[in-house]
C-alpha cells in the first residue's frame, strides 16, 4: 500500500517537475477544439493548423524570444467537456490566452469562465450571439451567418429578385442561418414567400421542393444547410427542373459539395470565405497573399485540400501572437487590450479591424466572396 503510494507520489513529482521547469520559459496558449466527433470537420483542420504554425513560429525564434507552447484539448464537440477543459487551461495550465472552441454551443458554455479568469479568448465558432452584445474577454474571427445572409441579399437586390423561398436544414447551422436570413431580408426589400425545412439526414427533399415549385410567388431559392443535405437538395432541384436561381450558403463552400452534387451544382451561387478561392481572388484583394500562402502551405503539409475552418485557427493564433509582441508582456489583461487594438490585420478570413465595440472585425466586403459554380469549379461573381 505504502509502496504504491510512494510510487504514485514519485511519478507525480516527476511530472510536475517538468511542468514547473517549462512554466518559466514558454508562453502557454490554450486551444479547445473539437478534433474528433461530429464537429471534427471544424476541429481537425483547426488543430492541424495550430500545431503546424506554432512549430513554425518557434522555429523562427518564437515571440519576444520566448517559445510558444500549445496546450490543446479535444472536446469531441461537447459543451460539457469544453467547460472541464477551460477550467483546466485556466487553473492548471495557466495559459495566457485561449483559442477556440470550434462550435457556438461550446463557446457559449465557457464564456463566463474566461470572463471570471480574465483570460482573452478567440472563438472559432459562427454564431452572432458570441460577440453581440460585446463581452470584454471574448473575440471571434469567423464571419457570421448574418454576414452570409447579407451578402446573398445584396446580390438578390442587384438582380431584382424580391420573393425568396428558404429551404433550410434542421441542424444548428441551418437553423441559425435561417433565422438570420429572415431577420435581414426586410433590410434589402426581400420577402420570404416560402419557408421549408428538412432533416439533416434526410435522403429525399422532393416534397419540399415541389411545394416551392408550385408556389407561383417564388423567384429565387436559398438553401442554408451543412453536410449531405444541401447536396441532395441541389440534385432534387435539378431533377425537378426548377428554373429559379438557386443559392447555397457558406456551409457547402468546399470542393466536396461540387463532387457530391455533381452536374446538378452547375449555376448554383453561394457565399464563401476568401481562402476557398484564394488563387482566384483579384490581386487588389488585400488578404489574397496571406490566404494563398496559407492554402498552399496547408495543402503541402497535410496533403489534403484546404478547409476554410483551418484559416480561423491561423488568424486566431497570429492575432494573439501579434498582440503579445505589441504588449511586450504575457499578462493576459495586457494581451486582451492589445487584441482589441488589432487594426488592419491581414488574415486568411479577411482584413480584421477590432475595437471596443466590435469584437469580430470582419465585414461582408472582405469576409465573404460570392461564387458561382461553372464547369465544376468556382468562379467569382463581381
Amino acid at each position: 500500500m505504502l509502496k504504491r503510494f510512494t510510487l504514485k507520489a514519485l511519478v507525480l513529482l516527476f511530472i510536475s517537475s517538468f511542468v514547473f521547469l517549462n512554466a518559466n520559459d514558454t508562453i502557454k496558449i490554450g486551444a479547445i477544439v473539437a478534433a474528433t466527433g461530429p464537429a471534427s470537420f471544424l476541429g481537425d483542420p483547426e488543430l492541424k493548423t495550430l500545431q503546424h504554425y506554432v512549430a513554425k513560429i518557434n522555429k523562427n525564434g518564437g515571440v519576444n524570444g520566448q517559445m510558444i507552447e500549445l496546450v490543446h484539448y479535444d472536446t469531441g464537440g461537447s459543451p460539457k467537456k469544453a467547460v472541464t477543459f477551460v477550467k483546466r487551461l485556466i487553473n492548471q495550465d495557466k495559459v495566457v490566452a485561449i483559442i477556440g472552441p470550434s462550435t457556438s454551443g461550446e463557446t457559449m458554455a465557457i464564456m463566463k469562465f474566461v470572463k471570471k479568469a480574465k483570460i482573452p479568448m478567440i472563438s472559432m465558432a459562427g454564431a452572432v450571439a458570441i460577440i453581440n452584445p460585446v463581452k470584454k474577454y471574448v473575440f471571434k474571427i469567423v464571419a457570421t451567418d448574418r454576414m452570409a445572409c447579407q451578402r446573398i441579399m445584396q446580390d438578390l437586390k442587384k438582380r431584382n429578385l424580391t420573393n425568396l423561398a428558404l429551404i433550410s436544414g434542421s441542424g444548428g447551422f441551418g437553423k441559425s442561418m435561417r433565422k438570420q436570413c429572415k431577420e435581414v431580408a426586410p433590410d434589402y426589400g426581400i420577402k420570404i414567400v416560402a419557408d421549408e425545412t428538412y432533416g439533416k439526414k434526410d435522403s429525399d427533399m422532393t416534397t419540399q421542393l415541389l411545394k416551392i415549385k408550385n408556389n407561383k410567388k417564388v423567384q429565387v431559392v436559398l438553401n442554408p444547410g451543412f453536410g449531405q443535405g444541401p447536396a441532395i437538395v441541389t440534385k432534387n432541384y435539378a431533377q425537378l427542373k426548377i428554373k429559379h436561381p438557386f443559392y447555397q450558403s457558406h456551409g457547402v463552400a468546399s470542393k466536396k459539395f461540387i463532387e457530391i452534387a455533381g452536374h446538378a451544382s452547375e449555376g448554383v451561387r453561394l457565399v464563401a470565405p476568401p481562402v476557398v478561392v484564394a488563387d482566384k481572388l483579384a490581386n487588389s484583394v488585400a488578404n489574397k497573399k496571406i490566404a494563398l500562402a496559407y492554402k498552399n502551405e496547408y495543402e503541402k503539409a497535410f496533403n489534403s485540400q484546404v478547409a476554410s475552418f483551418g484559416g480561423h485557427a491561423y488568424d486566431s493564433l497570429y492575432i494573439i501572437t501579434e498582440a503579445i509582441k505589441r504588449a511586450g508582456s504575457t499578462n493576459p489583461s495586457k494581451i486582451r487590450d492589445e487584441i482589441e487594438k488589432t487594426q488592419g490585420f491581414e488574415g486568411v478570413d479577411g482584413i480584421v479591424n477590432l475595437s471596443a465595440t466590435d469584437h469580430l472585425g470582419l465585414n461582408t466586403k472582405t469576409g465573404m466572396v460570392l461564387l458561382e459554380i461553372k464547369n465544376g469549379d468556382w468562379t467569382i461573381v463581381k
Binding site: S170, K201, S203, T206, T207, L210, A231, I232, K235, E259
Partner: protein, 289 residues
C-alpha cells in the same frame, strides 16, 4: 392532384430506403429474437467500403462483391461477440449491438475519414418525368432491388429448410437444438445475410444521398421504425412499415409543414406500439412476464 402524386412518389422513394434498412432488422430478429442496432452502421460500412475500394482503383463489380464480403464479415464478428457474451438476456445483447454500432462509427472515422463521399450512379444520373415530378433511375433501382430482396427472403423463410430452421431457432432455441438444428451455424448465416442486405442498401443509397461515417444513425433509426410499424419478423412488414413511414412523412411535409416531418415517424411508432404492438403484419410472440 398532381401535387399529391408528387408527394406520394417522393414518399414511396424514401419508403423503400427505409424498407431496405428495416429488412436487416427483420432477418436478425427472425432467428435470434434480438434487435440489432448496428444495422444502420452495416449500411454505412457497405457504402463507405465500396467508395474506398473504387477510389483504390478497383472495378465496380469487384468493389461491390468485396464490400458485401467485408460487411458480412462484420456481421459475423458481431455474432461472435454476442455468442461470447456471458449474459445472454435480450436486453444486454441489444445493448451490445448498440455498443458495436458506436465502435463501427469510430472505426470508420479512423480507417476511412470524416468526409462525405459519393460514387457515380451505375444506372445513370437521369430521371423519368412523370406528370410534374420526377423519379430518378437510382430511386427506381432501389425499389426494384428492395422488392426482389423481400420476395427472396419470403421464399427463403417459408420454403427452404435452412429458412425454416432459422424461424424454428427463433421460436424455441432448445426445441430447435433437439430437432438437430445447428444453432451456431444458423445464427452466423443469419447475421451474414442481414449484413449483406445492409451493404446492398448502402451501395444503392450512396449515389443518391452520399455517405459518411455517421450516416447509419438516422438510417438505422428510421429502418427500425419501419420494421416495428410493419411488424418485426415479417419481410412484407418491413415494406409496409417503410412505405407507411415514407409516405406519411412526405404528406406531412407537403400539406402541413416540413418542420413536423420527423416527429411523425416517432408518433406513428408510439401509436403502433400502444395499439398494435405486433405491427401491421405482426404475429407477436406471447410472453409471460
Amino acid at each position: 392532384m398532381i401535387e399529391l402524386f408528387g408527394y406520394l412518389l417522393s414518399g414511396v422513394t424514401v419508403g423503400f430506403i427505409y424498407t431496405l434498412v428495416g429488412l436487416g432488422f427483420t432477418v436478425i430478429y427472425n432467428s435470434s429474437g434480438i434487435i440489432n442496432f448496428s444495422q444502420g452502421e452495416f449500411v454505412m460500412a457497405g457504402g463507405m467500403s465500396t467508395v474506398f475500394l473504387l477510389h483504390a482503383g478497383l472495378p465496380l463489380g469487384i468493389s461491390f462483391v468485396l464490400s458485401i464480403m467485408i460487411t458480412s464479415m462484420i456481421g459475423i464478428v458481431l455474432y461472435k461477440l454476442i455468442s461470447f457474451s456471458k449474459d445472454s438476456s435480450p436486453i444486454s445483447l441489444i445493448i451490445l449491438t448498440l455498443g458495436f454500432a458506436i465502435f463501427l462509427r469510430g472505426l470508420a472515422q479512423v480507417i476511412f475519414d470524416k468526409q462525405l463521399h459519393t460514387m457515380p450512379s451505375f444506372v445513370g444520373e437521369g430521371a423519368f418525368e412523370i406528370f410534374d415530378t420526377t423519379l430518378s433511375y437510382q430511386a427506381l433501382l432501389i425499389m426494384i432491388v428492395a422488392s426482389a430482396i423481400v420476395v427472396a427472403l419470403y421464399v427463403f423463410f417459408k420454403k427452404t429448410k435452412t429458412g425454416q430452421a432459422m424461424v424454428a431457432a427463433s421460436n424455441n432455441v432448445d426445441a430447435a437444438k433437439l430437432m438437430g438444428i445447428n444453432i451456431q451455424k444458423i445464427l452466423i448465416l443469419n447475421f451474414a445475410i442481414s449484413a449483406v442486405i445492409a451493404s446492398i442498401g448502402g451501395i444503392l443509397l450512396t449515389p443518391m444521398t452520399s455517405t459518411n461515417y455517421e450516416v447509419g444513425i438516422m438510417l438505422g433509426l428510421k429502418g427500425f421504425c419501419a420494421a416495428i410499424i410493419g411488424g418485426l419478423g415479417n419481410p412484407f412488414g418491413a415494406v409496409a412499415g417503410g412505405l407507411v413511414l415514407g409516405i406519411l412523412e412526405s404528406l406531412v411535409a407537403g400539406y402541413i409543414s416540413s418542420e413536423y416531418k420527423d416527429a411523425v415517424a416517432f408518433i406513428v411508432l408510439l401509436l403502433i406500439l400502444f395499439f398494435m404492438p405486433g405491427g401491421i403484419f405482426g404475429n407477436l410472440k406471447s410472453q409471460r412476464v
